[in-house]
Assembly symmetry: C3
Homo-oligomer: 278 residues x 3
């Protein structure tokens, strides 16, 4: 993609991303996560490594009060079942009522009728950000594609750019398509993020984890969800790049990525963040 | 706290803690854990690293038989929902009937009405040990504090000492308040434990994991739950200190902490355990 | 066991195991896992490290469609509850209808009446492979043994060889008994696998993880489940041996094992696989 030139050395985005991370560390927003069982450990540890505070709370009996305490909500349909969907909708609605941001990870949308229906119902509740891989974003907009194959995308992110824009306009959400290059759009503007390493795809639930990180960044950047999402994606990807310097495979990458996320400093962030307007 | 002088070089506690760990390794007690989804991996691995045997069993259909096989039960309300609470109560009651110890981790008590109610109902079933952070212990005794903010405490442990004593007397349980210094009390005596490193708070579910470790120690030290809880807290904290020597962040600390817990030896334990009567 | 001579240097099995791993990496089969909460993280990461694609999907509303997308199904009863058993049976039946292989991990069978009943009902649905430790396999065949103690076996695998053969003949499944030596049988032939290190037992859910790996290997080796199961066990054990070279305890072993599984190469596999006909 020719339009990706200029990814390096964009000091404006690097400086803003650093300030955004500082705000997360200072405010330590409480992120309520209603997420799949596979992702819970890495998601909580990712949110903690960034300086925010995760809480996995899904009982319908607690939603009204707990969502009121939270600064943002992350909803992920990975291991969905009807009772959890009920809690997800309650939390999304409660967040909306309280003007708190919530983000959606429509894992595997398109794989089954039930999953697609439930994801569309959640999208109708207007998440501030929707993050998925290319297959998921295309399925979410209902474009005719081959069914999503499990939870791993078979397409590059750029193939989903038009679907992402359309979904963003239809849902009035920011849409982030993750892949080798991450694309974030509000339906008009598009930011591209090219931090990250391919091996991160061999760690389960990294996509889920970064969605919770997006929630943490959106929580402390009201009114700027497009940039907040891009910063979260770039910083997570950068942590992966730094982790890769010490990693010997996917499991050590996971360890070093989280260590790096915890230790990110100003010089590194400013010099290595790769975000570009597309 | 002036009363914490004498934390170093208390050979009596060090020697006893070492013997306690040896008993866990030899007896390999079976610890039934009914716990939150986030903690399951690290809790099971912590119990295994100490030489005990974890089993996550929560189906109501199995409680009567399985709790009879277990040597102790660890109940943690982290990701609670009504059906799980039902199983927790059944396991607690069954353990009581069989004179087996059970320990309670009232995660986030005070955060919501439902959670507080359920925790109080569990406390009424008389756990042998209750472990929480300062905010949780204060909430459990019903002291008027600002609502618990998620699952991470906003207060140092010493602020909860009076609440812990009161809760211990009211519930007839040992109460452990964890923080930079851990305080363990039966309502009269107080043991302080100052092993541990601050970065452990950036690993999700370390508090949950150490509660299961307390269950393992209590299982093989009938009649001495105050000391057993202090030993578990001190040894876990010491493993964190040793892990910290090799760690570069929270994720590598988690790895090295568990490795260190598995490898703790007599000289290290005796020379580095920091427990003091307060 | 005298019959284990010849474990080293069996180039035929080594070469076949390498080809089997290559087929998994190339085909990247989609493995639907309905498994216990403790195992989800390590199971998904194990399947990914081997080059396959895991998906944890258990909602009854999705089974019919999702199992049709999957290349194999892994069912593990670890943290069972009635609703999950219902989904397990639906997925097993659906897999059978579609001639897709499914494998069963009857965790803790024998520990409680409910668990034993449900495992026997699942076995009656004819999994292609059943994997358990010695205590579980003996309990599954209903031999009169002392009740399974939690989820960790108290017996060496060879004590379960006759039970394994009997179970294999009765269920028409391949039965794998794991331990210091793994035994895999169809009721007549027996393959022994002696890769692995003892410390792997101190990592929670390694047994669960390798069962999912067996599913991945069976998925791409139709008609050869005996060998496929042995290859998966040997390669996982070999990854443990390689991981052990860098490990300082169970938590670092887990990291290095998964890294090693991801990086296994032809020379290593051919020279170090230890499989023998018994």
């Amino acid at each position: 993609m020719a339009s990706f030139r200029g990814f390096r050395g964009n000091d404006a985005f690097g400086s803003e991303a650093w300030k955004a991370l500082c705000r997360v560390r200072e405010a330590a927003p409480l992120i309520q996560c209603i997420t799949n069982f596979v992702s819970m450990d890495i998601m909580a540890n990712t949110v903690l490594a960034a300086g925010a505070s995760p809480a996995m709370v899904h009982a319908i009996e607690e939603i009204a009060e707990f969502t009121a305490l939270a600064n943002a909500v992350c909803i992920n349909v990975g291991t969905l079942s009807p009772e959890w969907i009920f809690a997800m909708k309650a939390a999304a609605s409660r967040a909306n009522d309280l003007k708190k941001p919530w983000v959606l990870d429509p894992v595997g949308v398109g794989a089954t009728t039930f999953r697609t229906e439930k994801c569309l119902e959640l999208i109708a509740l207007r998440p501030v950000v929707i993050r998925g891989n290319a297959s998921e974003i295309i399925a979410a907009i209902g474009a005719s594609v081959e069914p999503t194959r499990g939870v791993d995308s078979t397409l590059p992110s750029k193939d989903a750019l038009e679907a992402a824009k359309e979904l963003a306009r239809a849902s009035q959400s920011i849409v982030a398509v993750t892949g080798a290059v991450d694309l974030v759009t509000d339906g008009k503007r598009v930011l591209g993020v090219s931090n990250g390493v391919a091996l991160m795809q061999r760690i389960t639930a990294t996509g889920c984890a970064v969605t919770a990180l997006i929630a943490a960044f959106v929580a402390v950047h009201p009114g700027r969800p497009l940039e907040a999402a891009a910063f979260a994606l770039a910083l997570f990807g950068l942590a992966g790049e730094i982790g890769m310097e010490k990693a010997s495979g996917p499991a050590s990458l996971r360890v070093h990525l989280l260590d790096a996320l915890h230790s990110l400093d100003e010089v590194t962030v400013i010099s290595r963040i790769k975000i570009a307007q597309i």
